[in-house]
Symmetry: C2
Subunit: 232 residues, 2 copies
DNA sequence: CGACGCATTGACAGGGCTCAATTTAAGTGG
DNA sequence: CCACTTAAATTGAGCCCTGTCAATGCGTCG
């Protein structure tokens, strides 16, 4: 199973399969079906029946929640090793969010029944899953509080820093956020409008804190953003 | 174990122990330590080391997340059968929120090691826990979106309806929300200020939709609130 | 090179937060 | 039972942040 070995990296092990005997890893993975996604392709659609859950192998997905009047909120970005649509563990539920590949991505899909059986036979896996969900919950609780208590500028700063930590890549200019990120998307993630994001980034660029291009953002002075995000 | 039988009600069974053989229920519960809480008493404090997790037996708790500059957000209200501080499943973490009894309450506390062991030996329990967490996550994702997309009035309406469903009690006047709920608390739950809540409730009272007293709110016309919360 | 999508910038208005001043209601102790 | 205290709730006035709308600029790709 050479294809599987390729995904058998540290990040991955630290998540769903950590603590599970290595001998059975391949067996477990063989239960999933590999799916390749093009940039922008929708993997799950909010409201559809939840029949499968997915493990991200490579690339990056975004989870978006849609509101009646056209607005949308980016709930989270997912990277390799993370699981989504765990809701499929419950019977007769609908996906609460839409999941979409940002750039190209690969995922492993597990049927609802399959994953339930796997979790029951490998309790450690269930515990790992619990940990991942706790992570998600914690993250969202934090962002909920920020949305409640902070002004837009602070939220944008915090969001950029978060994205930097999860998906930053060092360049000579600074830390580049390593996937397509338009003003609109950052606005959806920060819970504001593209206009405000644009204005803010422009201001920060004048201060020399970031460098912003079309769908690309490089943070040149992270410390300034940290300070901004923490000042009352 | 007569004390335990008292808590062995439907709600409870539908959560943590559903699907687990009945013979072992008492054994499992015997691993927990019963704790009685006075009104307002703090059970867990944000930032403390997470050593135990808790199952609510009776009464009602609120989970609050504190922000540096004094603001706070009520993340969730917990009723009988619900679990909190599941974070204790992870090693070396701190509680991300504060949990406080609203009126009198009883909980069952499980040591971190104990609950881990229980979940490993009873995989069905781990699955149940997963389901509860998925519920929490879903709830918060919805509220995050609402906070993002809706105006204050709609959010207050939705919050009241939610509280009504979870903790409503029929009276001759309408549906009473059955625990102490000040303007400030509703504001913290809805992510607004007590002033705005007060103004809004006053207006609704004039319209005959609610009846508001000191720390008590009765919904006399739920339908009006539903309509308000759903209109674009 | 033209067209389309992304980004920028300005003008404007309004929702709701802030602050301050009362009013109302619930306890408390004599 | 009544004065007194204290906390909750109400209401008004003002203003600021930020969303909205419109016009324009710019980069990229067919």
């Amino acid at each position: 199973m050479t294809a599987l070995e390729a995904y058998d990296d540290a990040l991955f092990l630290n998540n769903l399969l950590s603590g599970v005997p290595e001998q059975v890893h391949a067996d477990i993975m063989a239960n999933g079906k590999r799916i390749v996604l093009r940039p922008g392709q929708t993997l799950i659609r909010q409201g559809d029946d939840a029949k499968r859950c997915y493990l991200v192998l490579t690339g990056r997905l975004k989870l978006v929640k849609l509101h009646e009047q056209g607005k949308e909120a980016v709930i989270r970005y997912l990277g390799p090793g993370q699981v989504t649509a765990a809701i499929a563990l419950l019977k007769q539920k609908e996906y609460p969010v839409t999941a979409q590949a940002i750039d190209a991505a690969e995922v492993l899909g597990f049927e609802s029944g399959t994953i339930n059986r796997l979790l029951l036979t490998h309790p450690q896996m269930a515990l790992n899953m619990l940990r991942m969900l706790l992570d998600r919950l914690d993250d969202l609780q934090n962002r909920y509080l920020e949305l409640r208590a902070e002004q837009v500028e602070q939220r944008i700063a915090r969001s950029l820093l978060r994205l930097m930590q999860h998906s930053g890549r060092r360049t000579e200019q600074g830390v580049l956020i390593d996937f397509s990120l338009s003003r609109q998307e950052l606005a959806d993630y920060t819970a504001t409008t593209l206009y405000t994001v644009s204005r803010t980034l422009s201001a920060w660029e004048k201060s020399g804190w970031v460098k912003s291009e079309r769908e690309r953002i490089t943070i040149t002075d992270p410390h300034a953003l940290v300070e901004l995000s923490e000042r009352s």
